[in-house]
């Protein structure tokens, strides 16, 4: 099979298994994309972890803990897929903590209040699940298969998030204010989340059918699904330009792409602190890895 034939194969919906021949560029793009997803699952638990001890009820504490456990589980599944493509998990973790690889923009920001926890669980997870559902059709089949399990667990996360938000919205004025402030804080990063509106034909991840939709398509889907849900609760979105035009397309203020780039290249408000926490836990748990590997020897 030539590279051109491979390209035509994946573009017509063909799927690839671990042992199949694949072009080097495809393998490299897969590793980069999937590794970043794994990093994001692993780093994505930290903003919520900060609230486990401060959760308002035992029920919330348990749900948050379960969610953190799920996301770390996703990271394990995902790094396993990367490992089969040729990059060992240890190398992924090393690159993550040394700042050589990236993770999603939304996990570089602080979680100021319980309102942020609700907005993350509801809207950040909603944005993420839109990307992840599109990966169910990924041309690399082992990744598409684990995505089935991941999407299934994410649906519990979104419900949990909505439940947190609805409880607060039905509560006191102060609680409603916490939610509105959190929506205001998170709106910018949420609009940046799906990436710049590069035409999908120019996006190598789409060309190789690693992703099955373009960035703007994903953002439109997010706005379509969630802006009405935000509005119906009496919340507002901090963008005066936001509206659905006559053709059914959402118009909005241009997201701050410079901020996105700055944040994902390691300069977010919580990047350094969270990577330092990861480095610390890696040091603390090294003896566990050694003990497990000794078992293998």
């Amino acid at each position: 099979m030539t590279e051109q034939e491979f390209l035509e194969y994946v573009q017509s919906g063909g799927q690839v298994e671990t042992d199949d021949w694949m072009p080097d560029d495809y393998r490299a793009k897969l590793i980069k994309f999937i590794e970043m997803h794994g990093n994001s699952e692993l780093m994505g638990v930290l903003p919520e972890r900060e609230w486990i001890l401060r959760a308002p009820t035992l029920q919330r504490k348990l749900a948050l803990t379960a969610k953190v456990q799920d996301e770390v589980g996703h990271a394990q599944l995902i790094y396993r897929v990367v490992e089969d493509l040729g990059k060992p998990r240890e190398a992924c973790l090393e690159d993550l903590v040394s700042g050589n690889s990236k993770f999603h923009n939304v996990f570089h920001y602080p979680t100021k209040t319980w309102g942020d926890v609700g907005v993350i669980a509801w809207l950040v997870d909603a944005a993420a699940i839109i990307s992840q559902k599109a990966l169910l059709k990924c041309s690399y089949a082992p990744y598409a298969r684990i995505m089935k399990k991941i999407c299934w667990e994410e649906s519990f996360h979104i419900l949990h998030g909505r439940d947190v938000i609805l409880t607060m919205m039905n509560g006191t004025d102060e609680q409603r204010e916490l939610v509105q402030e959190a929506v205001n804080r998170w709106w910018g990063p949420l609009m940046q989340f799906h990436g710049n509106p590069i035409a999908k034909e120019d996006d190598p991840m789409f060309v190789w059918r690693i992703k099955s939709q373009g960035n703007e398509e994903a953002r439109q889907q997010f706005l379509d699904g969630y802006v009405p849900q935000i509005w119906e609760l009496g919340l507002t979105v901090p963008d005066p330009k936001l509206e659905k035009n006559g053709e059914g397309v959402w118009e909005y203020t241009e997201p701050d792409w410079a901020e996105l780039k700055h944040v994902v290249t390691g300069h977010g408000p919580r990047t350094a602190e969270r990577l330092e926490l990861r480095r610390g836990t890696r040091r603390e748990t090294e003896w566990v890895r050694r003990a497990v590997l000794a078992e293998a020897a």
Partner: protein, 97 residues
Amino acid sequence: MSGVYEVFRQERKGQAFAHAGSVAAPNAAFAEAYAREQYGRRGESVALWVVPRDAVMQIEEFVDELQRNYHRVDGYPLKEKLKEARERAGTTASADS
């Protein structure tokens, strides 16, 4: 045995086991623990098969040198023959294919 174990999961009793993913483990006991944790902890499976990757025999190319289509449905294209038979019997007009 140290290495990669493939995990197959059954969602409901009676259904086929489907490949779900894999775990890397230093031995079978760890493989079981990891598989339970990663593919069964939310009740999404009623059973798992955990198999060392090396034990999976993969067979891919199915060559049909003799074009043995007599044992498949594509070996029986009846359309032309049916048309001819209907014409012979003079029932073409009333038939619909």
